[in-house]
């Protein structure tokens, strides 16, 4: 192989292993799911191959599924919002910390990512469950219990806890590229501390907020363990519904249709979001 040819082709065959992995692990299952969503299901005959839109029609026309999808996206929006409100100041504080403390805090933030979501969610159950630590304590001192398990508030709080590291990390990554002198410049021009933060720091980390929001939103809307454990059967979201369709009622085609709709919904949000970023900020942050 000549050096020139080698240079030209190297990127392709070097990326081949990655491509094969994605093709086998992602593309094939996706196509199979897509096909499955057009099949039909019969309780006596099982799954029937064929092509029909009736699974989609069932989902689109049924209020039961509307509620589930609305809840899924509502969780996504609320969790993303809270992650921004909590995560951005936290990233800012983290960035201002001195040498040893910054690393310690960063480990404290990233550390939980190393623990399974199931374990972290069960931690909330132990702490906030009906017979958990907090509620038992409250009962002992004669106060009312705080409902947490099987409430939307509970699911959202636990999801924020799971998702917030992603927001902090993406905002922090952008913050490191922000010239700290811009804060001094703003102060010297007469800006108070809150004004420095909201008019100079936040606008500069918007790319980080937007990419963090993308991660948090898509992970929240497709989250399974937390809504399943804390929300239970009563507060179903799209992914727990898919699970039930596949494993409990065994209506695989319907489950596949829900999965495809969820995927398309998340993709629509992500693409729309990206458009917004590009239109608004391409000029400023190239």
């Amino acid at each position: 192989m000549t050096p020139a040819l080698y240079r030209r082709t190297a990127p392709y065959w070097l990326s081949l292993p990655g491509f094969v992995l994605f093709a086998v692990m992602l593309f094939v299952p996706l196509v199979m799911t897509l096909l499955l969503s057009f099949y039909s299901f019969d309780y006596t005959a099982g799954i029937q191959t064929g092509f029909s839109w009736h699974n989609y029609a069932d989902v689109v026309s049924d209020d039961y599924f509307h509620e589930i999808f609305w809840r899924t996206f509502r969780y996504g929006l609320i969790v993303t919002l809270f992650c921004i409100v909590i995560g951005v100041p936290e990233a800012y504080i983290l960035n201002r910390m001195r040498a040893p403390w910054r690393t310690i805090s960063l480990v404290a933030i990233i550390g939980p990512l190393l623990i399974s979501v199931v374990v972290r969610t069960l931690g909330w159950v132990i702490l906030m469950g009906n017979n958990g630590l907090v509620n038992t304590g409250l009962e002992r001192i004669g106060l009312a219990k705080i409902p947490f398990i099987y409430t939307e508030t509970g699911v959202i709080v636990a999801l924020i806890h799971v998702m917030i590291p992603f927001m902090i990390i993406s905002v922090w990554a952008v913050l490191q590229k922000v010239d700290p002198a811009t804060e001094n410049a703003a102060a010297s021009l007469g800006a108070s501390q809150p004004k420095v933060f909201f008019r100079v720091v936040v606008p500069q980390v918007i790319p980080g907020i937007l990419s963090g929001s993308l991660i948090v939103f898509s992970l929240t809307t497709s989250a399974f363990a937390t809504p399943a454990i804390i929300g239970g059967r009563r507060l179903k979201v799209a992914s727990t519904t898919i699970y039930d369709e596949f494993l409990n009622t065994l209506e695989w085609p319907l489950g596949a249709a829900i999965a495809i709709i969820l995927l398309l919904g998340i993709m629509a949000v992500i693409l729309g979001w990206n458009r917004l970023i590009e239109r608004r900020y391409a000029q400023v942050f190239q």
Binding site: N184, L189, V284
Partner: protein, 326 residues
């Protein structure tokens, strides 16, 4: 009494003393430079005046008013940062408007003042650009406009030219000096560039180890350096032993020397380098007192070649006795 007064100013970081017993009086409208190598405390001093650092001891007053207790947002000081520190998310006009907005100035007056500032720094037509779309020189003009538009009591310049190329730097220096004089704004420049300090300042304060070692008009300091450090940091200097006192040295500026035929002059030596700078020739001559530098104005071709033996002569009046070893 000075307009800006720094009195017994000190700043310690733990056990490290960045600035120690620093005293400086600056008159209204004066342009003063703090000149020194990195780590000499000049930037620390500037940051204390700006309010980004709190002095460990000492006073900073403007027209008798103590600044130390006032937060930087209320000091009314314009600063041009080394990195320019422009707001990347705002256009040129919005960058300049920022300080005026913070002061609650009406939109109408704001646009008039922005237009005037843009006029002063010659940035007409760039109002709607973002900083990323500007060259380094243009960014610096925006930084300057943003600092002067608020009509600050004092203008602080933190190594403002260090990111510009040589040609642009010279142009900007001339322009900056002109703007400063037109506005009559009291200015403190922090720099490690002796040429910049000399070109711009009414007075230069040479700093070393957190203190001012010499202060005066550029010509005055250049001609009469008090120490070896000043004589070598500000311009080049040949150091000769002082025949009167063993431990002391004499400074002789290279441009005050003349090359003469071998056998004549006060010292003999062999030319080890001959470099052409356009306006002058630089000769390096190996003598009994070490390597000496000699500048000759470019009045013709080189007077001596490498390896040639020459004499060096000078007027006794140009010798400067330095205080101490340092």
């Amino acid at each position: 009494m000075g307009f800006l007064q720094l009195t017994s100013l000190s700043k310690r970081f733990g056990t490290f003393t960045a600035v120690e017993d620093f005293n400086l009086d600056i008159e209204k409208g004066e342009f003063v430079s703090l000149l020194g190598p990195s780590g000499c405390g000049k930037t620390t001093t500037l940051q204390m005046i700006a309010g980004f650092l709190e002095p460990t001891a000492g006073r900073i007053t403007v027209e008798g008013e103590d600044l130390v207790a006032i937060p930087s947002a209320k000091r009314n000081i314009g600063i041009v940062f080394q990195s320019y520190a422009l707001f990347p998310h705002l256009t040129v006009a919005q960058n300049i408007a920022f300080g005026l907005e913070m002061r609650g100035i009406t939109a109408m007056e704001r646009s008039q003042r922005i237009a005037r500032a843009i006029d002063i720094v010659h940035l007409k037509g760039f109002e709607a650009r973002f900083p990323k779309q500007l060259s380094g020189g243009q960014q610096q003009r925006v930084a300057l406009a943003r600092a002067i538009v608020i009509e600050p009591r004092i203008l602080l310049l933190d190594e403002p030219m260090s990111n510009l190329d040589a040609k642009l730097r010279e142009d900007m220096q001339l322009e900056l000096r002109q703007i400063q004089q037109e506005l009559g704004i009291t200015t403190l420049l922090v720099t490690h560039d002796q040429h910049e300090a000399m070109a711009l300042s009414d007075r230069i304060a040479v700093m070393q180890g957190g203190r001012i070692v010499q202060i005066g008009a550029p010509y005055e300091i250049y001609e009469n350096p008090s120490s070896r450090f000043v004589s070598t940091f500000l311009g080049k200097s040949n150091l000769l032993p002082d025949p009167a006192q063993m431990a002391r040295q004499i400074s002789l500026r290279p441009e005050k020397t003349r090359l003469v035929p071998a056998g004549q002059g006060k010292l003999q030596g062999r030319v080890t380098a001959c470099i052409f700078f356009g306006a002058h020739w630089l000769y390096q001559v190996d003598t009994d007192h070490g390597l000496l530098l000699a500048y000759e104005q470019n009045l013709g071709a080189a007077r001596a070649r490498n390896g040639e033996t020459v004499g060096i002569d000078w007027d006794e009046a140009h010798l400067r006795h330095l205080e101490g070893q340092e």
